[in-house]
Symmetry: C3
Subunit: 139 residues, 3 copies
Amino acid sequence: MMYQGSFSVATPGRGSLLIGDQVYACVRDSGLATGIVLVFAHHTSASLILCENADPQVRADLERFMARLVPDGDPLFRHTDEGVDDMPAHVRSILTSNSLSLPLVDGRCDLGTWQGIYLWEHRQMPHQRRVSVTIYGES
Amino acid sequence: MMYQGSFSVATPGRGSLLIGDQVYACVRDSGLATGIVLVFAHHTSASLILCENADPQVRADLERFMARLVPDGDPLFRHTDEGVDDMPAHVRSILTSNSLSLPLVDGRCDLGTWQGIYLWEHRQMPHQRRVSVTIYGES
Amino acid sequence: MMYQGSFSVATPGRGSLLIGDQVYACVRDSGLATGIVLVFAHHTSASLILCENADPQVRADLERFMARLVPDGDPLFRHTDEGVDDMPAHVRSILTSNSLSLPLVDGRCDLGTWQGIYLWEHRQMPHQRRVSVTIYGES
């Protein structure tokens, strides 16, 4: 049996946002117990990550790492129509991922103790981001 | 219901190639309307990305970024039997991905407006690359 | 039809370990022939990669590359409670992936000739890592 749902996330600008509650609400809506959960971000400047969910410093460090690896305004980039953070946002998205595939066990996403589901906004300005959840499984 | 298909891509050397048409042809062949589409590249020197599909400069910038991050001929690398681009190709593949999992909605891949499906050839020489499409879904 | 199984991997510290045999054992246990195999690592300091499986130098080079890109003890990082390799392990995991989605064809993972399935331990100390295998398919 299959379920599809989606939700929108209002990002306040660059940074990672916990979206576990929205994903888990879709899982509950599905009524499915066992299967595969595909979480998908329909954008090229935002991505999805599984990140340590206990110490907020982890995501701050991650942000600093990416800012150094793919700096805004890097003269290497020519795709700059939308600003200095436009091309870095595309690169950051590609170095991470647009989707997460998660095992569904006993009606919940079977994540590790410290794995949280985050949407990572890579643009400096606020955006509305669409995330969909497709579940294939059994009840 | 399940569908499996595949196609071959002749790459002219390093660079990214739009393969959306081939993937969408598999989706149409499947006759399936709702589900999950797994696109998989059966190689360790080529990968799959969802990339901005409007401005070709984006992929040129991406190429320049990767050339700087994982330079051909880097003395760090000892796996050089097949040339200076051999090990960089493996690293590039691992920093991106061999697979894309996409939601299938109403008989089409439900991608964002600017998301195009690309095969990224990481070797300098032309290659034949095999890509398979597995779809799990309902008609 | 669906199958779920899991196994534990004792890592001797940082480095990549071939886990193909354990994944293939799950595939055989499932009795399924055609579908999608989701391999998932339930951790934020270990990841899964498809890597060239012929020359061990490839994984040594990969290790050297990551050690340079995300160095232990980098003063950029403030999340250091568990040691100099704690935050680098999170970054390495996010730059690679926690999951692999593989096509199942004729009862086996349809990988390319040189694609091996590896668990990449990113911490310096030995750990027990849990890996699960979820298969959706037909017999």
